[in-house]
Amino acid sequence: MADAVFLALSVITIGSAIAALELRSLIYGSIALMGTLGGIAGFFLLLDSPFVAMFQLAVYVGSIAVLILFTVMLVKRELIFKKVEDKRRKFVGIALMLVFMVALGSVIMDSGIKTITTDEPAVDFRNIGADFLTYYWPALILMALILAGSVTGALILARREDVENEQRTD
Protein backbone atom coordinates (compact mmCIF):
# COMPACT_ATOMS: atom_id res chain seq x y z
CA MET A 1 0.00 0.00 0.00
CA ALA A 2 2.65 2.46 1.09
CA ASP A 3 4.78 1.48 -1.89
CA ALA A 4 1.96 2.20 -4.32
CA VAL A 5 1.33 5.57 -2.69
CA PHE A 6 5.05 6.31 -2.77
CA LEU A 7 5.24 5.47 -6.46
CA ALA A 8 2.21 7.60 -7.28
CA LEU A 9 3.59 10.51 -5.29
CA SER A 10 6.99 10.18 -6.97
CA VAL A 11 5.39 10.20 -10.40
CA ILE A 12 3.26 13.24 -9.51
CA THR A 13 6.17 15.15 -7.98
CA ILE A 14 8.76 14.49 -10.65
CA GLY A 15 6.26 14.72 -13.49
CA SER A 16 4.90 18.05 -12.39
CA ALA A 17 8.43 19.33 -11.75
CA ILE A 18 9.37 18.54 -15.35
CA ALA A 19 6.09 20.08 -16.49
CA ALA A 20 6.82 23.21 -14.47
CA LEU A 21 10.11 23.58 -16.34
CA GLU A 22 8.93 22.67 -19.80
CA LEU A 23 5.41 24.07 -20.15
CA ARG A 24 5.11 27.11 -22.38
CA SER A 25 2.18 28.58 -20.42
CA LEU A 26 3.48 30.26 -17.30
CA ILE A 27 0.20 29.80 -15.43
CA TYR A 28 0.12 26.08 -16.07
CA GLY A 29 3.79 25.96 -15.13
CA SER A 30 3.07 27.49 -11.76
CA ILE A 31 0.14 25.11 -11.25
CA ALA A 32 2.57 22.25 -11.96
CA LEU A 33 4.94 23.77 -9.41
CA MET A 34 2.10 23.61 -6.88
CA GLY A 35 1.75 19.94 -7.75
CA THR A 36 5.42 19.40 -7.00
CA LEU A 37 5.23 21.18 -3.67
CA GLY A 38 2.06 19.32 -2.74
CA GLY A 39 3.72 16.04 -3.65
CA ILE A 40 6.55 16.82 -1.27
CA ALA A 41 3.93 17.42 1.42
CA GLY A 42 2.62 13.96 0.59
CA PHE A 43 6.10 12.52 1.14
CA PHE A 44 6.20 14.13 4.57
CA LEU A 45 2.82 12.55 5.35
CA LEU A 46 4.18 9.17 4.30
CA LEU A 47 7.14 9.74 6.61
CA ASP A 48 4.78 10.12 9.61
CA SER A 49 5.39 13.82 10.10
CA PRO A 50 2.04 15.51 9.47
CA PHE A 51 3.26 18.66 11.21
CA VAL A 52 5.89 19.32 8.55
CA ALA A 53 3.48 18.27 5.81
CA MET A 54 0.86 20.77 6.91
CA PHE A 55 3.47 23.53 7.10
CA GLN A 56 4.69 22.56 3.65
CA LEU A 57 1.13 22.97 2.36
CA ALA A 58 0.42 26.18 4.25
CA VAL A 59 3.71 27.90 3.42
CA TYR A 60 4.74 26.61 0.00
CA VAL A 61 1.41 25.93 -1.69
CA GLY A 62 -0.56 28.51 0.25
CA SER A 63 1.85 31.41 0.14
CA ILE A 64 4.84 31.00 -2.16
CA ALA A 65 2.89 29.47 -5.02
CA VAL A 66 0.32 32.24 -4.67
CA LEU A 67 3.06 34.85 -4.91
CA ILE A 68 4.52 33.19 -8.01
CA LEU A 69 1.08 33.00 -9.59
CA PHE A 70 0.40 36.61 -8.76
CA THR A 71 3.67 37.78 -10.28
CA VAL A 72 3.21 35.68 -13.39
CA MET A 73 -0.26 37.08 -13.95
CA LEU A 74 0.89 40.66 -13.72
CA VAL A 75 3.80 40.47 -16.19
CA LYS A 76 3.71 40.43 -19.92
CA ARG A 77 5.63 37.32 -20.79
CA GLU A 78 6.98 38.54 -24.14
CA LEU A 79 8.70 41.50 -22.54
CA ILE A 80 10.91 39.66 -20.09
CA PHE A 81 11.34 36.14 -21.36
CA LYS A 82 12.99 35.27 -24.59
CA LYS A 83 13.14 31.61 -25.37
CA VAL A 84 16.68 30.63 -26.27
CA GLU A 85 16.83 27.22 -27.85
CA ASP A 86 20.19 25.97 -26.72
CA LYS A 87 20.65 22.20 -26.81
CA ARG A 88 24.09 22.24 -25.23
CA ARG A 89 22.93 24.13 -22.14
CA LYS A 90 20.09 21.69 -21.70
CA PHE A 91 22.37 18.66 -21.83
CA VAL A 92 24.87 20.25 -19.50
CA GLY A 93 22.03 21.03 -17.10
CA ILE A 94 20.78 17.46 -17.17
CA ALA A 95 24.29 16.14 -16.66
CA LEU A 96 24.83 18.48 -13.73
CA MET A 97 21.55 17.32 -12.21
CA LEU A 98 22.58 13.68 -12.59
CA VAL A 99 25.91 14.36 -10.89
CA PHE A 100 24.15 16.09 -8.03
CA MET A 101 21.64 13.28 -7.71
CA VAL A 102 24.33 10.61 -7.61
CA ALA A 103 26.38 12.56 -5.07
CA LEU A 104 23.43 13.28 -2.81
CA GLY A 105 22.16 9.74 -3.15
CA SER A 106 25.49 8.25 -2.16
CA VAL A 107 25.71 10.57 0.84
CA ILE A 108 22.19 9.66 1.95
CA MET A 109 22.79 5.94 1.43
CA ASP A 110 25.97 6.11 3.54
CA SER A 111 24.23 7.97 6.33
CA GLY A 112 22.71 4.83 7.79
CA ILE A 113 19.18 5.53 6.56
CA LYS A 114 18.74 1.87 5.73
CA THR A 115 18.93 0.80 9.36
CA ILE A 116 16.08 3.08 10.50
CA THR A 117 13.00 1.18 11.64
CA THR A 118 9.90 2.63 10.10
CA ASP A 119 7.14 1.48 12.45
CA GLU A 120 7.73 4.18 15.03
CA PRO A 121 4.89 6.56 15.92
CA ALA A 122 4.67 10.03 14.46
CA VAL A 123 7.06 12.59 15.91
CA ASP A 124 5.26 14.80 18.39
CA PHE A 125 5.47 18.46 17.42
CA ARG A 126 5.98 19.37 21.08
CA ASN A 127 9.32 17.55 20.89
CA ILE A 128 10.25 19.55 17.81
CA GLY A 129 9.53 22.77 19.67
CA ALA A 130 11.44 21.65 22.77
CA ASP A 131 14.45 20.62 20.66
CA PHE A 132 14.45 23.97 18.92
CA LEU A 133 14.49 25.87 22.19
CA THR A 134 17.13 23.72 23.91
CA TYR A 135 19.64 21.82 21.80
CA TYR A 136 19.23 23.65 18.50
CA TRP A 137 18.94 27.18 19.89
CA PRO A 138 21.79 28.63 17.78
CA ALA A 139 19.95 27.53 14.64
CA LEU A 140 16.79 29.22 15.91
CA ILE A 141 18.63 32.47 16.62
CA LEU A 142 20.28 32.33 13.20
CA MET A 143 16.95 31.79 11.49
CA ALA A 144 15.41 34.65 13.45
CA LEU A 145 18.26 36.98 12.42
CA ILE A 146 18.00 35.98 8.76
CA LEU A 147 14.24 36.48 8.81
CA ALA A 148 14.56 39.86 10.51
CA GLY A 149 17.23 40.89 8.01
CA SER A 150 15.11 39.86 5.04
CA VAL A 151 12.03 41.63 6.40
CA THR A 152 14.07 44.81 6.92
CA GLY A 153 15.51 44.51 3.44
CA ALA A 154 12.04 44.03 1.96
CA LEU A 155 10.82 47.11 3.79
CA ILE A 156 13.74 49.18 2.47
CA LEU A 157 13.19 47.89 -1.06
CA ALA A 158 9.49 48.61 -0.90
CA ARG A 159 9.93 52.14 0.46
CA ARG A 160 9.21 54.89 -1.99
CA GLU A 161 8.86 58.62 -2.03
CA ASP A 162 5.26 59.57 -1.49
CA VAL A 163 4.03 60.58 -4.90
CA GLU A 164 1.69 63.53 -4.94
CA ASN A 165 -1.43 62.49 -6.73
CA GLU A 166 -3.14 65.37 -8.45
CA GLN A 167 -6.33 63.46 -8.96
CA ARG A 168 -6.99 63.02 -5.29
CA THR A 169 -8.46 66.09 -3.66
CA ASP A 170 -8.54 65.04 -0.03
Partner: protein, 432 residues
Protein backbone atom coordinates in the same frame (compact mmCIF):
# COMPACT_ATOMS: atom_id res chain seq x y z
CA UNK B 1 -50.83 34.91 -13.91
CA UNK B 2 -48.73 33.58 -16.70
CA UNK B 3 -49.56 30.29 -18.29
CA UNK B 4 -46.59 27.96 -18.30
CA UNK B 5 -48.08 25.16 -20.41
CA UNK B 6 -51.25 26.24 -22.17
CA UNK B 7 -52.23 22.80 -23.42
CA UNK B 8 -51.84 21.11 -20.05
CA UNK B 9 -54.39 18.44 -19.19
CA UNK B 10 -54.24 16.60 -15.92
CA UNK B 11 -55.51 13.36 -17.41
CA UNK B 12 -52.76 13.45 -20.03
CA UNK B 13 -50.20 14.04 -17.28
CA UNK B 14 -51.41 11.00 -15.29
CA UNK B 15 -51.46 8.93 -18.45
CA UNK B 16 -47.87 9.84 -19.30
CA UNK B 17 -46.72 8.94 -15.80
CA UNK B 18 -48.53 5.58 -15.93
CA UNK B 19 -47.04 4.98 -19.35
CA UNK B 20 -43.53 5.57 -18.05
CA UNK B 21 -44.13 3.31 -15.03
CA UNK B 22 -45.37 0.53 -17.30
CA UNK B 23 -42.35 0.69 -19.57
CA UNK B 24 -39.91 0.89 -16.67
CA UNK B 25 -41.47 -2.17 -15.04
CA UNK B 26 -41.48 -4.08 -18.31
CA UNK B 27 -37.86 -3.31 -19.10
CA UNK B 28 -36.81 -4.11 -15.55
CA UNK B 29 -38.60 -7.46 -15.64
CA UNK B 30 -37.24 -8.44 -19.03
CA UNK B 31 -33.67 -7.13 -18.79
CA UNK B 32 -32.95 -5.92 -15.26
CA UNK B 33 -33.93 -9.02 -13.30
CA UNK B 34 -32.05 -11.50 -15.55
CA UNK B 35 -29.02 -9.22 -15.43
CA UNK B 36 -29.11 -9.21 -11.63
CA UNK B 37 -29.45 -13.01 -11.61
CA UNK B 38 -26.49 -13.38 -13.93
CA UNK B 39 -24.36 -11.05 -11.82
CA UNK B 40 -25.37 -12.82 -8.60
CA UNK B 41 -24.42 -16.13 -10.15
CA UNK B 42 -20.79 -15.04 -10.40
CA UNK B 43 -20.47 -13.20 -7.07
CA UNK B 44 -19.50 -15.24 -4.04
CA UNK B 45 -21.83 -14.27 -1.22
CA UNK B 46 -20.45 -14.04 2.33
CA UNK B 47 -21.43 -16.42 5.11
CA UNK B 48 -22.90 -14.64 8.14
CA UNK B 49 -23.66 -16.55 11.35
CA UNK B 50 -23.24 -19.84 9.53
CA UNK B 51 -25.82 -18.89 6.93
CA UNK B 52 -25.06 -18.20 3.30
CA UNK B 53 -26.22 -14.65 2.57
CA UNK B 54 -28.56 -15.15 -0.36
CA UNK B 55 -30.35 -12.15 -1.83
CA UNK B 56 -33.59 -13.46 -0.37
CA UNK B 57 -32.03 -13.54 3.10
CA UNK B 58 -30.58 -10.05 2.68
CA UNK B 59 -33.99 -8.67 1.68
CA UNK B 60 -35.59 -10.42 4.66
CA UNK B 61 -33.08 -8.82 6.99
CA UNK B 62 -33.57 -5.39 5.49
CA UNK B 63 -37.36 -5.65 5.84
CA UNK B 64 -37.22 -6.95 9.41
CA UNK B 65 -37.45 -3.96 11.79
CA UNK B 66 -35.61 -5.80 14.54
CA UNK B 67 -32.61 -6.12 12.20
CA UNK B 68 -32.91 -2.78 10.43
CA UNK B 69 -31.76 -0.60 13.30
CA UNK B 70 -28.51 -2.49 13.99
CA UNK B 71 -27.72 -2.40 10.25
CA UNK B 72 -28.45 1.33 10.24
CA UNK B 73 -26.25 1.86 13.31
CA UNK B 74 -23.45 -0.12 11.73
CA UNK B 75 -23.79 2.02 8.61
CA UNK B 76 -23.61 5.19 10.67
CA UNK B 77 -20.18 4.29 11.97
CA UNK B 78 -18.77 3.98 8.47
CA UNK B 79 -16.63 6.67 6.90
CA UNK B 80 -19.04 7.04 4.01
CA UNK B 81 -21.84 8.16 6.30
CA UNK B 82 -19.55 10.52 8.16
CA UNK B 83 -18.22 12.13 5.00
CA UNK B 84 -21.49 12.31 3.11
CA UNK B 85 -24.13 12.80 5.75
CA UNK B 86 -23.75 13.71 9.36
CA UNK B 87 -20.70 15.61 10.52
CA UNK B 88 -19.63 16.17 6.95
CA UNK B 89 -21.11 17.41 3.73
CA UNK B 90 -24.86 16.80 4.15
CA UNK B 91 -25.13 18.42 7.57
CA UNK B 92 -23.06 21.40 6.47
CA UNK B 93 -25.01 21.80 3.23
CA UNK B 94 -28.28 21.74 5.17
CA UNK B 95 -27.07 24.46 7.51
CA UNK B 96 -25.72 26.40 4.52
CA UNK B 97 -29.07 26.23 2.75
CA UNK B 98 -30.81 27.45 5.87
CA UNK B 99 -28.25 30.24 6.08
CA UNK B 100 -29.00 31.43 2.55
CA UNK B 101 -32.73 31.64 3.22
CA UNK B 102 -32.35 33.30 6.63
CA UNK B 103 -29.92 35.79 5.11
CA UNK B 104 -32.28 36.85 2.37
CA UNK B 105 -35.27 37.09 4.69
CA UNK B 106 -33.38 38.84 7.47
CA UNK B 107 -31.77 41.37 5.14
CA UNK B 108 -35.18 42.14 3.70
CA UNK B 109 -36.59 42.77 7.16
CA UNK B 110 -33.60 44.96 8.04
CA UNK B 111 -34.11 47.05 4.92
CA UNK B 112 -37.91 47.21 5.27
CA UNK B 113 -38.51 44.93 2.29
CA UNK B 114 -40.52 41.75 2.07
CA UNK B 115 -37.90 39.42 0.64
CA UNK B 116 -38.77 36.01 -0.81
CA UNK B 117 -42.54 35.81 -0.55
CA UNK B 118 -44.38 33.91 -3.24
CA UNK B 119 -42.59 30.57 -3.54
CA UNK B 120 -44.23 28.01 -1.27
CA UNK B 121 -47.04 30.31 -0.11
CA UNK B 122 -45.75 30.65 3.47
CA UNK B 123 -43.14 33.43 3.56
CA UNK B 124 -41.42 32.02 0.49
CA UNK B 125 -39.88 28.96 2.12
CA UNK B 126 -39.53 27.18 -1.21
CA UNK B 127 -37.56 30.06 -2.79
CA UNK B 128 -34.28 28.20 -2.33
CA UNK B 129 -35.56 25.13 -4.12
CA UNK B 130 -36.81 27.31 -6.94
CA UNK B 131 -33.44 29.02 -7.22
CA UNK B 132 -31.67 25.67 -7.27
CA UNK B 133 -33.92 24.35 -10.05
CA UNK B 134 -33.38 27.55 -11.99
CA UNK B 135 -29.59 27.29 -11.67
CA UNK B 136 -29.59 23.63 -12.72
CA UNK B 137 -31.75 24.27 -15.74
CA UNK B 138 -29.82 27.29 -17.00
CA UNK B 139 -27.19 27.10 -19.68
CA UNK B 140 -23.56 27.24 -18.70
CA UNK B 141 -21.96 29.93 -20.81
CA UNK B 142 -18.20 29.88 -21.18
CA UNK B 143 -16.62 33.16 -22.31
CA UNK B 144 -14.76 33.27 -25.59
CA UNK B 145 -11.03 32.58 -25.24
CA UNK B 146 -11.52 31.44 -21.67
CA UNK B 147 -9.07 28.88 -20.33
CA UNK B 148 -11.56 26.03 -20.32
CA UNK B 149 -9.91 23.41 -18.08
CA UNK B 150 -9.31 25.85 -15.24
CA UNK B 151 -12.68 27.53 -15.75
CA UNK B 152 -14.47 24.21 -15.39
CA UNK B 153 -12.30 22.85 -12.60
CA UNK B 154 -12.19 25.91 -10.35
CA UNK B 155 -15.79 25.75 -9.00
CA UNK B 156 -15.51 22.01 -8.37
CA UNK B 157 -12.19 22.42 -6.56
CA UNK B 158 -13.68 25.31 -4.60
CA UNK B 159 -16.51 23.13 -3.29
CA UNK B 160 -14.09 20.27 -2.62
CA UNK B 161 -11.79 22.52 -0.61
CA UNK B 162 -14.71 23.90 1.39
CA UNK B 163 -15.86 20.33 2.07
CA UNK B 164 -12.35 19.41 3.22
CA UNK B 165 -12.51 22.32 5.63
CA UNK B 166 -15.91 21.10 6.89
CA UNK B 167 -14.47 17.62 7.41
CA UNK B 168 -12.10 18.89 10.10
CA UNK B 169 -14.83 20.35 12.32
CA UNK B 170 -15.84 18.22 15.34
CA UNK B 171 -19.60 18.44 15.86
CA UNK B 172 -20.13 16.17 18.87
CA UNK B 173 -17.85 13.98 21.00
CA UNK B 174 -16.34 11.48 18.56
CA UNK B 175 -18.34 12.81 15.63
CA UNK B 176 -15.75 14.24 13.28
CA UNK B 177 -14.76 13.08 9.82
CA UNK B 178 -11.01 13.60 10.12
CA UNK B 179 -9.73 13.66 13.69
CA UNK B 180 -6.11 14.60 12.99
CA UNK B 181 -3.51 15.57 15.56
CA UNK B 182 -2.59 18.72 13.69
CA UNK B 183 -6.16 19.76 12.96
CA UNK B 184 -5.62 23.48 13.33
CA UNK B 185 -2.58 23.40 11.04
CA UNK B 186 -4.65 21.46 8.52
CA UNK B 187 -7.21 24.27 8.72
CA UNK B 188 -4.47 26.80 7.95
CA UNK B 189 -3.26 24.69 5.04
CA UNK B 190 -6.76 24.43 3.60
CA UNK B 191 -7.48 28.14 4.01
CA UNK B 192 -4.37 28.77 1.92
CA UNK B 193 -5.97 27.07 -1.08
CA UNK B 194 -8.88 29.49 -1.41
CA UNK B 195 -6.92 32.45 -2.84
CA UNK B 196 -5.28 30.17 -5.43
CA UNK B 197 -8.64 28.88 -6.64
CA UNK B 198 -10.08 32.38 -6.69
CA UNK B 199 -7.27 33.93 -8.70
CA UNK B 200 -7.09 30.99 -11.11
CA UNK B 201 -10.81 31.08 -11.84
CA UNK B 202 -10.67 34.86 -12.19
CA UNK B 203 -7.76 34.66 -14.62
CA UNK B 204 -9.21 31.78 -16.61
CA UNK B 205 -12.44 33.58 -17.51
CA UNK B 206 -10.48 36.07 -19.67
CA UNK B 207 -12.51 39.07 -18.64
CA UNK B 208 -11.70 42.34 -16.95
CA UNK B 209 -14.10 42.41 -14.04
CA UNK B 210 -13.36 38.91 -12.78
CA UNK B 211 -9.64 39.60 -13.01
CA UNK B 212 -9.88 42.82 -10.98
CA UNK B 213 -12.08 41.02 -8.47
CA UNK B 214 -9.67 38.10 -8.30
CA UNK B 215 -6.69 40.37 -7.66
CA UNK B 216 -8.64 42.11 -4.93
CA UNK B 217 -9.65 38.78 -3.41
CA UNK B 218 -6.02 37.66 -3.46
CA UNK B 219 -4.84 40.82 -1.71
CA UNK B 220 -7.55 40.55 0.87
CA UNK B 221 -7.26 36.84 1.65
CA UNK B 222 -3.46 36.78 1.77
CA UNK B 223 -3.24 39.79 4.06
CA UNK B 224 -5.95 38.58 6.42
CA UNK B 225 -4.57 35.06 6.66
CA UNK B 226 -1.71 36.30 8.85
CA UNK B 227 -3.84 37.89 11.63
CA UNK B 228 -6.15 34.87 11.37
CA UNK B 229 -3.32 32.47 12.13
CA UNK B 230 -1.83 34.71 14.80
CA UNK B 231 -5.15 35.22 16.57
CA UNK B 232 -5.58 31.48 17.04
CA UNK B 233 -2.14 30.98 18.55
CA UNK B 234 -3.42 32.15 21.93
CA UNK B 235 -5.81 29.22 22.14
CA UNK B 236 -3.04 26.83 21.08
CA UNK B 237 -0.71 28.23 23.75
CA UNK B 238 -3.31 27.77 26.48
CA UNK B 239 -4.49 24.31 25.46
CA UNK B 240 -1.14 22.93 24.36
CA UNK B 241 -2.68 20.98 21.49
CA UNK B 242 -3.58 21.44 17.85
CA UNK B 243 -6.31 18.79 17.81
CA UNK B 244 -9.70 20.49 17.49
CA UNK B 245 -11.53 17.84 19.55
CA UNK B 246 -9.07 18.24 22.40
CA UNK B 247 -9.42 22.02 22.17
CA UNK B 248 -13.18 21.64 22.64
CA UNK B 249 -12.70 19.18 25.50
CA UNK B 250 -10.43 21.70 27.24
CA UNK B 251 -13.33 24.17 27.41
CA UNK B 252 -15.65 22.05 29.54
CA UNK B 253 -15.60 24.62 32.35
CA UNK B 254 -15.40 27.91 30.49
CA UNK B 255 -15.01 28.95 26.87
CA UNK B 256 -11.80 30.66 25.82
CA UNK B 257 -13.63 33.82 24.73
CA UNK B 258 -13.73 34.81 28.40
CA UNK B 259 -9.93 34.96 28.61
CA UNK B 260 -9.08 35.79 25.01
CA UNK B 261 -11.73 38.27 23.89
CA UNK B 262 -9.24 40.17 21.72
CA UNK B 263 -8.30 37.03 19.83
CA UNK B 264 -11.96 36.22 19.30
CA UNK B 265 -12.68 39.69 17.92
CA UNK B 266 -9.68 39.56 15.55
CA UNK B 267 -10.69 36.12 14.39
CA UNK B 268 -14.24 37.30 13.76
CA UNK B 269 -13.05 40.27 11.67
CA UNK B 270 -10.70 38.05 9.66
CA UNK B 271 -13.59 35.61 9.10
CA UNK B 272 -15.57 38.46 7.56
CA UNK B 273 -12.64 39.31 5.30
CA UNK B 274 -11.91 35.72 4.28
CA UNK B 275 -15.55 35.16 3.45
CA UNK B 276 -15.67 38.37 1.39
CA UNK B 277 -18.68 39.62 3.28
CA UNK B 278 -19.68 43.25 3.81
CA UNK B 279 -17.85 45.42 4.90
CA UNK B 280 -15.01 43.54 3.18
CA UNK B 281 -16.79 42.47 0.01
CA UNK B 282 -14.46 44.29 -2.36
CA UNK B 283 -13.87 41.17 -4.52
CA UNK B 284 -17.58 41.05 -5.30
CA UNK B 285 -18.34 44.74 -5.17
CA UNK B 286 -21.48 44.75 -7.25
CA UNK B 287 -21.66 48.50 -7.70
CA UNK B 288 -18.10 48.75 -9.05
CA UNK B 289 -17.08 45.58 -10.86
CA UNK B 290 -20.40 43.83 -11.65
CA UNK B 291 -19.97 40.71 -9.49
CA UNK B 292 -16.22 40.57 -9.06
CA UNK B 293 -14.64 37.21 -9.71
CA UNK B 294 -18.07 35.61 -10.07
CA UNK B 295 -19.07 37.73 -13.06
CA UNK B 296 -18.58 35.15 -15.79
CA UNK B 297 -20.04 32.20 -13.92
CA UNK B 298 -23.49 31.11 -14.99
CA UNK B 299 -25.83 28.24 -14.40
CA UNK B 300 -24.76 25.45 -12.08
CA UNK B 301 -21.13 26.63 -12.04
CA UNK B 302 -22.37 29.71 -10.20
CA UNK B 303 -24.48 27.46 -8.02
CA UNK B 304 -21.39 25.41 -7.09
CA UNK B 305 -19.44 28.54 -6.19
CA UNK B 306 -22.30 29.74 -4.01
CA UNK B 307 -22.54 26.32 -2.34
CA UNK B 308 -18.82 26.42 -1.64
CA UNK B 309 -19.06 29.94 -0.26
CA UNK B 310 -21.77 29.02 2.18
CA UNK B 311 -20.05 25.78 3.18
CA UNK B 312 -17.02 27.93 3.93
CA UNK B 313 -19.18 30.28 5.97
CA UNK B 314 -20.51 27.37 8.01
CA UNK B 315 -17.01 25.99 8.48
CA UNK B 316 -15.60 29.30 9.68
CA UNK B 317 -18.53 29.87 12.06
CA UNK B 318 -18.09 26.32 13.38
CA UNK B 319 -14.36 26.92 13.81
CA UNK B 320 -15.13 30.04 15.85
CA UNK B 321 -17.48 27.96 18.01
CA UNK B 322 -14.93 25.19 18.42
CA UNK B 323 -12.07 27.49 19.36
CA UNK B 324 -13.72 30.21 21.40
CA UNK B 325 -17.26 29.23 22.40
CA UNK B 326 -16.68 25.71 23.69
CA UNK B 327 -17.99 23.64 20.80
CA UNK B 328 -20.50 21.05 21.93
CA UNK B 329 -20.14 21.68 25.68
CA UNK B 330 -23.20 22.96 27.49
CA UNK B 331 -25.71 21.97 30.15
CA UNK B 332 -27.67 18.79 29.51
CA UNK B 333 -30.98 19.84 28.00
CA UNK B 334 -31.78 16.77 25.91
CA UNK B 335 -34.18 14.43 27.75
CA UNK B 336 -32.83 10.93 28.40
CA UNK B 337 -34.13 8.09 26.28
CA UNK B 338 -37.00 6.38 28.13
CA UNK B 339 -35.66 3.22 29.75
CA UNK B 340 -38.89 1.20 29.49
CA UNK B 341 -38.75 1.24 25.68
CA UNK B 342 -35.40 -0.52 25.82
CA UNK B 343 -36.40 -3.02 28.52
CA UNK B 344 -40.11 -3.64 27.83
CA UNK B 345 -40.57 -2.43 24.28
CA UNK B 346 -43.34 -0.19 22.97
CA UNK B 347 -46.72 -1.28 24.34
CA UNK B 348 -49.69 -0.35 22.18
CA UNK B 349 -52.75 -2.02 23.72
CA UNK B 350 -52.46 -5.78 23.20
CA UNK B 351 -49.37 -5.48 21.00
CA UNK B 352 -45.85 -5.10 22.32
CA UNK B 353 -43.11 -4.18 19.90
CA UNK B 354 -39.53 -4.77 21.00
CA UNK B 355 -37.00 -2.95 18.89
CA UNK B 356 -33.36 -3.91 19.50
CA UNK B 357 -30.72 -1.33 18.80
CA UNK B 358 -32.39 1.61 20.51
CA UNK B 359 -31.35 4.31 21.31
CA UNK B 360 -29.72 5.18 17.99
CA UNK B 361 -27.78 8.16 19.33
CA UNK B 362 -26.54 8.62 22.86
CA UNK B 363 -27.91 11.44 24.97
CA UNK B 364 -24.52 13.19 25.12
CA UNK B 365 -24.20 13.21 21.36
CA UNK B 366 -27.66 14.69 20.76
CA UNK B 367 -27.15 17.28 23.48
CA UNK B 368 -23.76 18.19 21.99
CA UNK B 369 -25.22 18.56 18.52
CA UNK B 370 -28.00 20.79 19.84
CA UNK B 371 -25.53 23.08 21.60
CA UNK B 372 -23.17 23.11 18.64
CA UNK B 373 -25.96 24.04 16.24
CA UNK B 374 -27.31 26.75 18.55
CA UNK B 375 -23.88 28.36 18.90
CA UNK B 376 -23.02 28.02 15.22
CA UNK B 377 -26.31 29.56 14.15
CA UNK B 378 -25.66 32.41 16.56
CA UNK B 379 -22.21 33.06 15.07
CA UNK B 380 -23.63 32.83 11.53
CA UNK B 381 -26.23 35.41 12.54
CA UNK B 382 -23.49 37.79 13.63
CA UNK B 383 -21.62 37.16 10.38
CA UNK B 384 -24.76 37.99 8.37
CA UNK B 385 -25.72 41.03 10.41
CA UNK B 386 -23.08 43.54 9.14
CA UNK B 387 -24.46 43.13 5.63
CA UNK B 388 -27.51 45.11 6.59
CA UNK B 389 -25.59 47.70 8.59
CA UNK B 390 -22.18 48.64 7.21
CA UNK B 391 -21.01 50.21 3.94
CA UNK B 392 -18.10 48.79 1.95
CA UNK B 393 -14.64 50.11 2.88
CA UNK B 394 -11.83 51.16 0.57
CA UNK B 395 -9.08 48.73 -0.28
CA UNK B 396 -6.29 50.80 1.29
CA UNK B 397 -8.31 50.97 4.51
CA UNK B 398 -8.77 47.20 4.31
CA UNK B 399 -5.08 46.52 3.85
CA UNK B 400 -3.96 48.92 6.58
CA UNK B 401 -6.52 47.35 8.92
CA UNK B 402 -5.18 43.90 8.16
CA UNK B 403 -1.47 44.64 8.23
CA UNK B 404 -1.18 47.22 10.99
CA UNK B 405 -4.05 47.00 13.42
CA UNK B 406 -5.09 43.37 13.42
CA UNK B 407 -1.56 41.95 13.44
CA UNK B 408 -0.63 44.26 16.32
CA UNK B 409 -3.73 43.26 18.26
CA UNK B 410 -3.00 39.60 17.55
CA UNK B 411 0.39 39.98 19.21
CA UNK B 412 -1.30 41.65 22.21
CA UNK B 413 -3.57 38.59 22.36
CA UNK B 414 -0.59 36.24 22.27
CA UNK B 415 1.06 38.15 25.12
CA UNK B 416 -2.16 37.95 27.16
CA UNK B 417 -2.21 34.18 26.62
CA UNK B 418 1.48 33.89 27.57
CA UNK B 419 0.87 36.02 30.67
CA UNK B 420 -2.02 33.82 31.76
CA UNK B 421 0.12 30.76 31.15
CA UNK B 422 3.20 31.96 33.06
CA UNK B 423 1.15 33.45 35.89
CA UNK B 424 -0.11 29.91 36.43
CA UNK B 425 -3.76 30.86 35.93
CA UNK B 426 -4.53 28.72 32.92
CA UNK B 427 -2.95 26.07 30.77
CA UNK B 428 -1.39 22.78 31.81
CA UNK B 429 -1.09 22.79 35.59
CA UNK B 430 -2.95 26.08 36.01
CA UNK B 431 -5.27 26.85 38.91
CA UNK B 432 -8.42 26.99 36.79
Amino acid sequence: MSVIAPNFKFSEFVKSILDNVFWILLIFALIGLPAIQIILFYIEMPVIDGELLTPFLALTWLADPSRTLPILKAFMTTDLFKIAAFPGFGFAALLAAGTIFIERKMLAKLQLRVGPFYCGKIEGILQLMGDGLKLISKEIIIPAKADKPIFWAAPVIFVATAAAFVALIPVAPGWVVADVDVGLLAVFAIIGFFPIITILSAWSSNSKFPFIGGIRALHQMVSFEIPLILSLLGVVILTGTLNLSEIVASQSNFPWIIFLPIGAIIFFITILAELERIPFDLPEAESEIVAGWLTEFSGMIYGLVQLGTYLKLYAFAALFVVLFLGGWTGPMIWPPFPEEIITDGIVMGPITVKIPGLPIFSQEMLNGVVWFVIKTVGVIFFILLPRGVFPRIRIDMLLSLGWYKLIGLAFVNIFIALGLLYAGVLGPGGIL
